[in-house]
């Protein structure tokens, strides 16, 4: 630590850290643009100028850029000195030469960092009298709006998009006072992290296009802390509503999980909440097969009358609480967690491995500390994209080591990158087919997933001869040698490959590596948002047993689950055919719901409070953002209603907090620690406001319907209020930040005021509670646990199926979000070029699988896909209902390729 003096006052700061970081960490206001806590300093904007004094006697000092100045013991600076203030005001004046005065019609207005900084510096009078610079904007696709006239050339966009996230289609073009940030030509931004541009841009150049279409000012949004339901990473989000519409999602800082960035599936996938496919009424099926609604009591009564021996099918996309409520209602012996049989097997294997221990289970943030990474069978760029972004930072680790030895500070971003050039920590990818982290992989291995598993076993055996012997390729040797040299190797695998041996092989590698000198980390991606929660709750009935019992005439209550995504469609249809009564609770309509006898409209994550458990077993709370309309209620409330009707006294919780408590006591110890209870108050007296203190239109919003002022909704279940009353001071419990705002900092940049220090943990602690810890001690018999190595795959004249994922389209909920639907590819089949030419197909050709003749796939020729395999799109045509490991493809001569995003945009222009 070092002592620094700001205006003569002494502060403690980390020596070597940059001065801007240190000053902001003391909550001193100093304007900046180009610096970003996750991306470091480049010294482009010159906004953070301060006066540095040589010593106590020095009264003149000299102007320095705080972001480029390392903290040293005894450093004396002034932020307030007239010369520094005057220079900072000049910087704004220069930036304002060309910035349009369009704040009233700009989406950024009211949460604009440029506005904040302009006010902060005091610049207000315009002296520049020439014409403003103008640009032609680009159509960047369905996610991102582009308004280049507003650009202040801070270079943050390209630094995030290219340097940080690895995107290649956004660049700084041109020079002098005409630098253009865009693509070479109009077209969809390719990176799945493009949405972060909205938050990274300090003004309104890159805007959230879906939000723009039903726009509200930040101060008019009603917001609550939420958790992304898009995958098992569990990114923390701020979800915002107005007029009963979920307007947008922003990043919510959690230093252990997503820090500052989200993926586009998460950010733009939330619009399913507003989907036309929403179920809005509780209904029963009439004789004629149509749904009838209007009489709630009748629906509840009907559901309650079939409880005897009913099967309950939970869901990995429903909250812990909803799953537990159902489990309690039907009894553990009748509860199925809702996974497919295979998923359940895989997940139980993962649970077993975690219980066995013998490795480190990393947080998302800790991924970035790995110095060698192997990805085995999991296409993280499509199944858990945020992790791919962290992997991208991990491979940069060596550049910081190099920089340190060259005396370049870590935060000096351009210097670190320029010095390290292409040097990186090794990343190996054993995934069949192209992934979007291939560009940073030092070696790739493809093959059917059995072959991927064989490679994995081979690596473990190569590291430690005690482990079962697998393949013995150059790749295997290279990986083994490299991982052995690392001090913090990381293995990433998961359920994505739909292959048990892959999961086992990953464990073998971690065990073989783990030693006193070497901390091996192992992380499994587990699919859906609450897959880990459902796994920990457990079910005693498998999906196929549940379907059998349904077919034999049992009733079933299905919680937020489309059974057609979990089992062979013929089996599901047969089960529903034989069922006594089918009750579905869900938010979106689907094939299972259509066949239900009783339907309850379930709240989405944004309309209820609950808990998801992410892939590292971190329980995280999401809070109701707004109260749903029509009959929509949280699933657990419907379950409670059904229980009441059946005179079940054991399901009579009064609030979600009470239910969480029950769940904590009876099933998932620790889960309630992810939340605060309804009585939590800031400074022991204030509720937390969902609305900002400038929230407008409270009395006018619904004046078209009634001139009477609506009563403010009460929230007895959580510490949040449905009003602007309360306090959001920044140091409250870290899981209860409804939005970030502090005086003078209207933009998301204000987040540093909520952190202990810049980029550090939240003042009130990072949200979430780990429900299970992995014992790092390796069991003595580790090498004997998995010794069954799969045989080399034999396609039997067919192509071996590799499940293939798309970040846009494979996930059930986000696929119903219109921006995601626009980005989703046609259902695809990836083929090796040799197999494609044998079939006589090329990119854009149509094929269908013999076993599934009614579903079409569009061919993607992929040279990274092993010959003899086919990558079939998961989540599109329900390929997991094919029921075989291999597929024979038939060419569909009538198929017309779906136009690409590019073609659609060019056609529009």
């Amino acid at each position: 630590m070092a002592k620094i003096y700001v205006e003569g006052k002494e502060y403690e700061a980390e020596a070597g850290e940059n001065l801007l970081h240190a000053v902001l960490s003391q909550s001193i206001d100093l304007p900046y643009f180009c610096w970003h806590p996750a991306m470091g300093s480049v010294g482009a904007c010159r906004q953070c100028a301060v006066i540095q004094y040589a010593d106590e006697e020095d009264t003149r000092g000299r102007l320095m850029m705080a972001c480029m100045t390392p903290v040293m013991d005894g450093l004396r600076i002034s932020v307030e000195a007239a010369q520094a203030k005057d220079f900072r005001s000049s910087v704004i004046e220069w930036l304002m030469e060309n910035h349009p005065h369009d704040c009233p019609v700009c989406e950024e207005g009211g949460e604009c960092h440029l506005q904040d900084m302009t006010v902060m510096t005091g610049h207000s009078m315009r002296r520049f009298e020439s014409k403003k610079r103008t640009w032609r904007n680009q159509n960047l696709g369905p996610f991102i709006g582009h308004e280049m006239n507003r650009c202040i050339t801070c270079y943050r966009c390209v630094r995030f998009y290219g340097d940080y996230a690895g995107g290649t289609d956004l660049a700084a073009l041109g020079s002098r006072s005409r630098v253009y940030f865009g693509r070479v030509e109009d077209g969809t931004l390719e990176s799945e992290f493009s949405g972060n541009l909205v938050e990274v841009c300090p003004t309104g150049v890159f805007t959230d296009k879906p939000f723009s279409q039903h726009y509200s000012r930040k101060w008019d949004l009603q917001s609550a802390p939420s958790i992304c339901p898009g995958c098992s990473v569990g990114c923390n989000t701020i979800a915002s509503e107005r007029y009963g519409v979920l307007k947008r999602l922003h990043n919510r800082y959690n230093s252990e999980v997503n820090s500052y960035f989200l993926c586009d599936r998460g950010r733009f996938g939330s619009h399913f909440v507003n989907s036309q496919k929403r179920i809005r009424h509780a209904a029963t099926k009439a004789e004629d097969g149509t749904f009838e609604y209007g009489d709630l009591d009748k629906v509840v009564t009907q559901a309650a009358s079939h409880l005897e021996g009913t099967i309950g099918i939970g869901s990995p996309r429903a909250s812990v609480e909803a799953n537990y409520a159902l489990k309690k209602l039907v009894g553990a012996e009748n509860f199925c967690a809702g996974f497919s049989d295979l998923d359940e097997t895989l997940l139980k294997e993962i649970a077993e491995i975690r219980k066995t221990g013998g490795f480190h289970s990393p947080s998302i943030a800790q991924i970035e500390e790995a110095d060698a990474i192997l990805i085995l069978g999991e296409d993280i760029s499509n199944t858990a994209a945020r992790i791919a972004l962290s992997v991208r930072q991990a491979v940069r680790g060596v550049s910081f080591d190099m920089a340190r030895s060259a005396n370049i500070p870590e935060w000096q971003d351009a210097g670190v990158r320029g010095h390290a050039q292409h040097n990186q920590n090794p990343l190996f990818i054993a995934v069949n087919g192209t992934t979007r982290v291939d560009d940073i992989a030092v070696a790739k291995c493809n093959g059917s997933n059995d072959e991927i598993a064989r490679a994995g076993f081979g690596i473990a055996a190569e590291i430690d001869g005690d482990y079962a012997v697998g393949d013995d390729s150059e790749f295997v040797k290279n990986v083994a040698q490299t991982l052995k040299k690392a001090s913090k190797p990381l293995i990433i695998s998961g359920t994505g490959a739909q292959n048990q041996a892959v999961i086992q092989a990953a464990a073998n590698i971690a065990w073989a590596l783990n030693s006193e000198a070497r901390q091996a980390s192992l992380l499994y991606v587990v699919g859906e948002a609450n897959a880990m929660g459902s796994l920990l709750l457990g079910g005693s009935v498998t999906m196929s047993d549940a379907l059998n019992r349904m077919e034999s005439g049992s009733s079933a209550i299905v919680l937020e689950n489309d059974l057609y995504r979990r089992a062979d469609s013929k089996l599901v249809s047969a089960a529903i055919g034989g069922i006594k009564s089918l009750t579905c609770l869900d938010s979106l309509g689907h094939s299972t719901v259509e066949q239900a006898d009783t339907v309850f409209p379930a709240a989405t994550y944004a309309e209820q409070t609950g808990t998801f458990v992410n892939l590292e077993a971190r329980a995280q709370r999401f809070y109701q953002v707004f109260q749903p309309t029509d009959d929509i209620r949280p699933s657990y409330e419907w379950i409670s209603e059904i229980a009441k009707k059946a005179d079940r006294a054991d399901l009579n919780w009064q609030s979600i907090a009470e239910l969480t408590d029950v769940c904590d006591q009876e099933a998932l110890n620790g889960v309630k620690e992810a939340s605060v209870d309804a009585n939590y108050r800031v400074e022991n007296q204030f509720k937390l406001p969902r609305q900002t203190h400038r929230y407008s239109g409270r009395t006018a919003m619904f004046a078209d319907q009634s001139v009477h002022e609506p009563k403010t909704a009460e929230d007895r279940e959580t510490p949040f209020s449905y009003s602007m009353e309360g306090e959001n001071p920044g140091d409250q419990d870290g899981s209860t930040i409804p939005y970030v705002w502090t005086p003078g900092w209207n933009s998301n940049q204000s987040v540093f005021k909520f952190q202990e220090e810049v980029a550090g943990p939240l003042k009130g602690g990072d949200p979430g509670k780990l429900l299970t810890e992995v014992n790092p001690e390796r069991p003595a018999n580790a090498s004997d646990i998995y010794s069954l190595v799969p045989e080399t795959t034999n396609g039997n004249n067919g192509l071996v199926i590799t499940p293939s994922y798309s970040v846009f389209g494979s996930d059930e909920l986000s696929s119903s979000s219109w921006p995601i639907a626009e980005r989703s590819p046609a259902p695809f089949a990836r083929l090796n070029p040799a197999d494609a030419s044998k079939l006589g197909v090329t990119d854009g050709s149509g094929v269908f699988v013999s076993e599934q003749p009614d579903q079409k796939y569009e061919v993607i020729v992929d040279s990274n896909l092993a010959q003899g395999t086919v990558g079939l799109a998961v989540g599109f045509n329900g390929f997991n209902t094919i029921g075989t490991d291999t597929a024979s493809l038939q060419v569909d001569l009538d198929y017309r390729a779906r136009p690409t995003g590019e073609e659609r945009i060019l056609a529009k222009n």
Partner: protein, 430 residues
């Protein structure tokens, strides 16, 4: 006495009467310095000889060359990886054409200087970063490199030693900022030509993150004579404390514009009156930019000063490239300032705010004043901008500092001209 004794850079050109071809160069003792350095001297000896000669960088900054070379990690401090030597031949300073002359007429001198430099710092890869428009110099240099390679002076096992050097020409895409050594390195790497943060300095981390030395063409050309004729001879060449000769140039309304290799420290008046033939009839010299467009104006009171690094610095300007631009009494100082600011605004790389946004504003204000639209208060805005943009450290690199030097000094020495434009509402020179 050989002309090369007093004019080590251009004497051979005069002796030959034109382009110094390979045979001419060798006949004049060419490549003997490189042979001597590579076969008989240690790299440390070479560096200390260059240091002792007090050779200062001729690109404009005047940094001691030997000292710079000494920053490159050698021996145990070196990690064994590649090092680079780069010649800055991106001569884009307005009014400057000395490097073009040297490369066109005496290319082997540069090649030999680079062989010695590369040997001294242990580089086996070298580049000449050449201004894109320099087609003729490029041909001459390419020929020289080919000739040297054919003789084994470049390539593998130079002079039978284990010293190798691969020398290549890189033609610039054409930006003034490429003359800034770190922007040059970025451009060489194929990146945007933006300067880099220092530290790291290129000798520690330069091209492709490796130790790199960047020197100007004229600097390299000084090295072979220093090796051949020794430090005492070299130090005695200079008139003042600076050492060696300097190529001085004059452009403007003189009778005989051009460039001349003269002992460093020759006075401004001698250069203009003796060598450039004095002003053309009917024109009076009002001021001059001593070393290219990015240096402060000097006026009458300074004309008897010696043209060397220290003297000109003491007078509030910089010797820069040593090639002066003269402003006579027919030229409007406001219009000349506007012309200069147009150049600098256009050549800003666009990275940092003051330079990118401040210079075009200054240009616009000067245009308004020149065209009679100036308003009271405009000079205050100019003064304030000049102060904030020009102070070293306020901008990312020294481009804007250089841009402001002629403006700030024009505002100081020719202020009544600016004021008259505003009060009269027109340019008095038109």
């Amino acid at each position: 006495m050989s002309l090369q004794e007093t004019k080590p850079l251009t004497g051979r050109i005069e002796e030959v009467g034109g382009v110094v071809e390979f045979a001419d160069y060798v006949a004049g003792g060419g490549y003997e310095a490189a042979r001597k350095a590579v076969t008989t001297m240690s790299p440390a000896d070479v560096i200390s000889q260059v240091k002792d000669a007090n050779l200062c960088g001729r690109g404009g900054a005047g940094f001691p060359t030997g000292t710079k070379w000494g920053f490159v990690p050698q021996g145990d401090a070196h990690d064994g990886g590649v090092k680079y030597l780069v010649c800055n031949g991106d001569e884009m300073e307005p009014g400057t054409f000395k490097d073009r002359y040297l490369i066109t007429y005496n290319p082997h001198l540069l090649v030999e200087g680079m062989i010695i430099g590369a040997y001294a710092i242990g580089a086996e890869k070298a580049f000449v970063f050449l201004r894109g428009e320099y087609h003729t110099p490029k041909q001459a240099l390419a020929q020289a490199i080919a000739d040297a390679e054919a003789k084994g002076y470049l390539g593998k096992n130079i002079f039978g030693t284990d010293f190798n050097l691969d020398l290549r020409i890189h033609s610039s895409g054409g930006r003034y900022i490429c003359g800034e050594e770190t922007a040059l390195l970025n451009a060489l790497e194929g990146k945007r030509a933006q300067p880099r943060t220092k530290p790291p300095f290129p000798p520690a981390s330069g091209a492709w993150g490796r130790p790199t030395i960047v020197n100007n063409v004229e600097t390299f050309c000084n090295v072979p004579p220093i090796i051949t004729r020794g430090t005492n001879w070299y130090r005695d060449l200079g008139i003042t404390d600076d050492c060696g000769t300097k190529i001085y140039g004059v452009s403007g309304r003189v009778k005989n514009p051009g460039l001349w290799e003269l002992p460093i420290g020759t006075t401004i008046r001698e250069i203009i009156e003796t060598h450039a033939g004095g002003m053309q009839d009917g024109f009076k010299l009002r001021g001059l930019l001593p070393g290219g467009a990015s240096t402060d104006f000097l006026v009458e009171e300074h004309f008897d000063l010696a043209m060397d690094f220290q003297t000109i610095r003491a007078a509030g300007s910089r010797m820069g490239t040593g090639t002066m631009i003269l402003m006579d009494d027919s030229i409007c100082p406001v219009d000349m300032s506007r012309n200069l600011q147009h150049f600098f605004a256009q050549e800003s790389c666009g990275f940092c705010t003051p330079c990118r946004e401040g210079l075009p504003w200054i240009e616009q204000l000067l245009l308004d004043i020149e065209e009679g639209r100036g308003k009271p208060g405009d000079l205050d805005i100019l003064d304030q901008n000049a102060q904030y943009i020009g102070a070293p450290g306020n901008t990312f690199c020294l481009h804007a500092t250089g841009a402001i030097e002629p403006l700030q000094s024009a505002l100081k020495y020719f202020r009544e001209d600016f004021e008259k434009h505003i009060t009269d509402g027109k340019c008095p020179y038109k």
